[in-house]
Amino acid sequence: MSINRREFLKIAGISTVAGIGAPWAINEILNRGVEAARVLPGLEALVAKRWAMVIDTRKFRTADDYKRVMDACHRIHNVPDIENPKHEVKWIWTDTFEHAFPGQEHKYMPEDIKHKPFLLLCNHCERPMCVRVCPTKATFKREDGIVMMDMHRCIGCRFCMAACPFGARSFNWRDPRPFIKEENKEFPTRMIGVVEKCTLCYERLAKGLKPACVEESNGGLIFGDLGDPNSEVRKILSSTYTIRRKPELGTEPSVYYIIGGNENV
């Protein structure tokens, strides 16, 4: 059999493609690659079936009550302090009732509730839209319900930001590092062009510590396992009336609010 130059090149080309592609394809089929979602909890780690948080807004009264909580989070996670609101990065912040719970407000509601700031953060939804839309699985849900971010895989397409109905996600519009006042060497800083958000202090849970905001809240934030009927969060949810943000969208937020003004503690 004789082959000419053209045919030889064709066969050589196809063989090269097959040679490179086949091992990868076989590997993909056999062990489906390694997903970033795979984690093994350590011995001292706090574990749960599904983490949740109750925000008792009655316990937040002074500006300092909020500031302590937000600062603790932003400080240990190297969240940059960018003043321009267009480029700001925030993991936990506040807004008033009509913005936190749009459509729930009415003209005659108590003045103190109307003007009170409400703490807002990622809801760690049971059915997170951000995870559904992410084209690289850079954002994913852990088995314990935490919606995680792999900032090394994120391509910065911002589909998750369009999909999140709670405005919980921030994008690094510019290099965040010059805006970090005091860098916490224990936690990575981020680079230009990736999305970030609250990760429910997964790094602290792994060491057996509660999230930083919970620790600083003086009992205003209650953290626990929804899967455990005897947990504190379950006890509160079954005894006190709580609401969630935009429940009608079906994302099943894991953050619950006890709504109260300043005087009726």
Partner: protein
Amino acid sequence: MFEKALTGSRRYWVWVFILLSIIGVGFIAYMRQYTYGLGITGMNRDVSWGFYIGQFTFLVGVAAAAVMVVLPYYLHNYKKYGRITVLAEFLAVPSVIMCLLFIFVDLGQPFRIMNVILHPTPNSVMFWDAVVLSGYLLLNILVGWTVLGAERKEVPPPKWIKPFIYIAIAWAPSIHIVTAFLYSGLPGRHLWLTAIMAARFLASAFASGPALIIIISLIVRRFTNFDPGREAIQTLGKTITYTMILNVLFLGFELFTGLYSNIPGHMHPFQYLYAGLEGHGKLVPMMWISSILAVIALILLINPKTRRNESTLAVAAVVVFTSLWIDKGFGLVVGGFIPNPLERVTEYWPTIPETLITLGVWAIGFLILTLLYKVAVSVKEEVVYDKYGEKQVKLFK
């Protein structure tokens, strides 16, 4: 065949050079964006997609519109389109390339783009969009090049190409349907969360794409010896008449449901776009220009006299294209983010570097379009007669 793009008149090279310089300026602006970050654009935490994704969305429509020429020709044997199928296919190619480039320049970490393939995620519409767009690009290069190659040798196209042509016809709407799904499946974005989104996308695509083919056909006839044919252009005029009517109707349906239902979330984006919301109304003039242009287009297109007159048809085509470019390349994407999920208004307007990068990508598209059309037109000028024995070149240059 490609060598035909390497010889040309002085005018051809001047045009290529102008495009190259715009590309150069865009590239410099992109380098600046790459080092500084996307903060150099007008996008922000609340309006997290802007001009780039708008252009992407609009151009997917232009690319899909090739089917409006290819389908009547191959499925209904509409012979008058025989000469211009390659023009439609060669318009789809740079359009898809521009789409991919607009995605690329919009990414925060562009060099991680292969993560989409390394970690395929079928639950993400973006994954499917990447699949259908690249498939469509390959199909159009393959079909356009093969059919043109056959025409050059004055033989019928090879039989094996037929299945690819039929696949390309079925594939075309899919690229725009999937692109619509990027938007219409998101909870909490009221402007986008509508079942008619894909239909509206198709209608606007099948108006803006053929409008561009009309404009380009007229330009090609003026500046080269190839004549796409008066009747083909007239039929395209009818296509854009119906699709533009559908598009305006669909927008009207959206406005009715949004405004009559009185649901605040559904009303707010429309209020922002057409009247301004809480004192913010940067997009209002643009949206009204788009609406007025749409009305002018319908008058020029529905009236048979102005549609049959090639000069007024050309005006109508430009007006359709501009109106839809504003509506889809700007208003639809930005409007979806305003107000934000917390019912606050943050506005968006493209910055100068962002505009230069956008122009640069368009210039790349036009450069590819110019090269492909140069090849196609040169072949047609040489062959003189089309497949059906009719002269496809003008007598005098």
